[in-house]
Each structure stands twice: as structure tokens, then as C-alpha cells.
Assembly symmetry: C2
Homo-oligomer: 213 residues x 2
């Protein structure tokens, strides 16, 4: 199994956590996003969308982090990343989607570059944009955790799953620009509980071989 990723890609970070939780070995192929490797003919030959992560398994290529993680969960059921009951699964997927559909797509590198380049915004406007979408998503995420008895040590119960896998890289990103996270005590508690696990700690961007300051 070969993971095309980049240390700071939070979608690749999610897949690294899932692979670690499933105790699956994988080889790394580093695609340097800041240098533009993702737009080169070599990587476009692998993934025509030019995005990481992509997971190569034999002659099969899986793309899109959430689809990859669902696949890993279906083909390697233990430990499960989704609860057994349909309602719990819907809650877990909805929490993950707050990050994967409502926060992260607005704050990834290609979007920040569009704001800076074609739209001509400075660092201050970009920082406000960045924090605006995190705040909006985290306000909802925090309430959905704090107001629901199904929240436990982790987002849903006492075992880590899909929602935690989405949340942790987003909290990591939230540290990039100053943002007061003390408004999100439940998010922070879950984040700390996750970081204490090897599967999450080993997936940290700063611990990847392609990490840069």
C-alpha cells in the first residue's frame, strides 16, 4: 500500500491516522504541495484531480480521504471507525462532514493561494477568512459534542473514530493562525485524548519524514 501525501495536508493526516488505528503498514510517496508537485505530469498520471491523499493498492487507486477511510473500515473492520447503530453512524459522519465539507475545503492551500493571487488579498484578510470558517464550524461542532450524551472520551463514545480522525487535523490547523480555542472546551478535551494515542501522535505532520519547519 502506498500513500501519496504531504506532511501538512490535513486530508492526508486523516488517512495516516486511520491507517495507524487499523495497524496497516504503508509506504510513503511525498507530493510537495508548496513546490507544486501535485500539478506535475507525474502525479497527474496517478491522480487526475491532482490532490492528495491518494492510496495505491495494487492496480487500484483510491482518492478522497473520507472515501479512503470508509474503504479501510469496510475491508479491515477492526477496530471499527464507525459505531454499529445507523443513528450513531449518521452522527459520526455528520461531525466529520462539518470539518471535511464546511471548514477544510475553504482553508486549504489551493484556496488560500487563489485569495492571495487572483483576488489579491493580504495575509491579514486571509487570516480573517481562515478563522471565520473554523469559528463557524467549531461553534457547531462544540455544541453538538457538549449537548449530546453520546459524546465520551472521544467524539462518539469511548473509542476513537471517523469524527476524531477529521477533528484532530483541523485543530492542528487552527493553531496556524492565532485563534482562541478556549471557547471549545469539549473539542480541546477530545483533541488531547486523541493526541495521547500512538495512532494519532505518529500521524502528526511534525513527525513525518517530509516535514519542514
Amino acid at each position: 500500500m502506498k500513500l501519496y501525501g504531504y506532511f501538512r495536508s490535513s486530508a492526508a493526516f486523516r488517512v495516516r491516522i486511520a491507517l495507524n488505528l487499523k495497524k496497516l503498514d504503508y509506504e510513503n510517496a511525498f507530493i510537495h504541495l508548496r513546490r507544486g508537485d501535485q500539478a506535475g505530469p507525474e502525479f497527474l498520471g496517478v491522480n487526475p484531480q491532482g490532490l492528495v491523499p491518494a492510496l495505491e493498492m495494487g492496480d487500484q487507486l483510491l482518492t478522497q480521504s473520507m472515501a479512503i477511510i470508509e474503504y479501510l473500515d469496510e475491508t479491515h473492520p477492526e477496530p471499527p471507525l464507525l459505531p454499529r447503530d445507523a443513528a450513531g453512524r449518521a452522527r459520526t459522519r455528520a461531525l466529520a462532514a462539518i470539518v471535511a465539507c464546511d471548514i477544510h475545503p475553504l482553508n486549504n492551500l489551493r484556496v488560500l493561494r487563489y485569495l492571495h493571487g487572483p483576488l489579491g488579498h493580504d495575509q491579514e484578510a486571509i487570516e480573517r477568512w481562515y478563522n471565520h470558517w473554523i469559528t463557524s464550524g467549531f461553534n457547531a461542532f462544540e455544541r453538538l459534542l457538549a449537548d449530546d450524551p453520546r459524546t465520551g472520551t472521544f467524539c462518539h463514545g469511548d473509542t476513537p473514530g471517523l469524527a476524531d480522525i477529521a477533528l484532530v487535523p483541523q485543530v492542528y490547523n487552527a493553531h496556524r493562525y492565532p485563534l482562541d480555542l478556549t471557547h471549545y472546551p469539549t473539542i480541546l478535551r477530545v483533541y488531547e485524548n486523541c493526541k495521547a494515542l500512538d495512532a494519532f501522535a505518529a500521524a502528526d505532520p511534525d513527525r513525518q519524514p517530509d516535514s519542514e519547519p
Copy 2:
């Protein structure tokens, strides 16, 4: 079952298609997004994230369109919206995610309003932004359909599923600003095949009771 939606919300449009494919009856609660109903205390009491769609079932509230559709597919398995094999499911979810994670989050109303308001962009810049993300996503979507023998009458095989449910509202949106879709012959073929089905046609924004010109 009560669906909180808005005729032009493409995420609500997805859920309407899924409910129709499953032949499930539902009641409508219209949240007028342009007027700002989603930010009012009444709807925030229902869904703290202030987004549509939300599906109320007894005392349970489901949010996030893709999580709702997966729930409907798990609790009402016929007709299935995902293929049986894990690889096919991963492909279908990845196609859906190109729309749900890489195109639509950048082009929905709250983002266009941020570009216009706080960032001060005019209609022309917003139109370029809008089409930029559709083009980038559709270029990949088209190649993934055209180059894969699993593409059939629909995105995956000859029955409609999750990828078609995501694609059709996005093609509908692509008509809002002028964009040459003839570069996407496979997307257009699948779109026309979907529109010929009652489940898709009845979910069309223009056919909803809250539709406005």
C-alpha cells in the same frame, strides 16, 4: 419525516433525490436562505449549525447531506445507492466527494456572500471564482468517468447512486453562470440520463413549492 430545506440549496436537492429514489414520503419545512431564516433562533434551535438540509425523524435530527443519504441507504437498503463491492463503493464515494468537498463548499451562498461583503468583490470576480472551482472539479470528474469501464448509464454502472445524487445538483448550479459544459460529454450524458428519471426530476429546484424566479 420532515426535511428542512430550500429549493436552491444543492445539498437539500441531493437529499430530495435520495428520498425520492427510496420512495420515502416526507414533509417540507422551508428555510429561506436568501432571507436569512437559517440564522434565526427558531432554526438554530433545530440545527445549531444553521445549515440545510436537516432531516427530522421523531426526536432525532440528522444533518449533513452525505451523512443523511448514507443513513437512508443503511436503513432503507432498496434500491441501493452504493455498489456492493468495497472498491466500487470507494469509487462512488470519491466521485461524490469531488462535488461535496471540492466544488460545492466553495460556491455556496454563505461563501459567495463573504466574497461580496467582507472581501468586496464584484459579480465578475465572483463568477470567475465560481467557475474556477467547477472547472477544476469537473475536469477530474469527467476523466474519472470517461476513463473507467465501470461508468455506465450512470456514474457507476446502470443504476443511479450516490455519485449521481451529488453530480446532478452541481450540473444544475453550473448553469447559473455561463460555463461551457461541452468539455464534459460524459458528465452531460449521465446528467441527462438522471433527469429522465422521476426521482431526479421531481427533486428539481424549479419544481419545489418554495421555488422563486
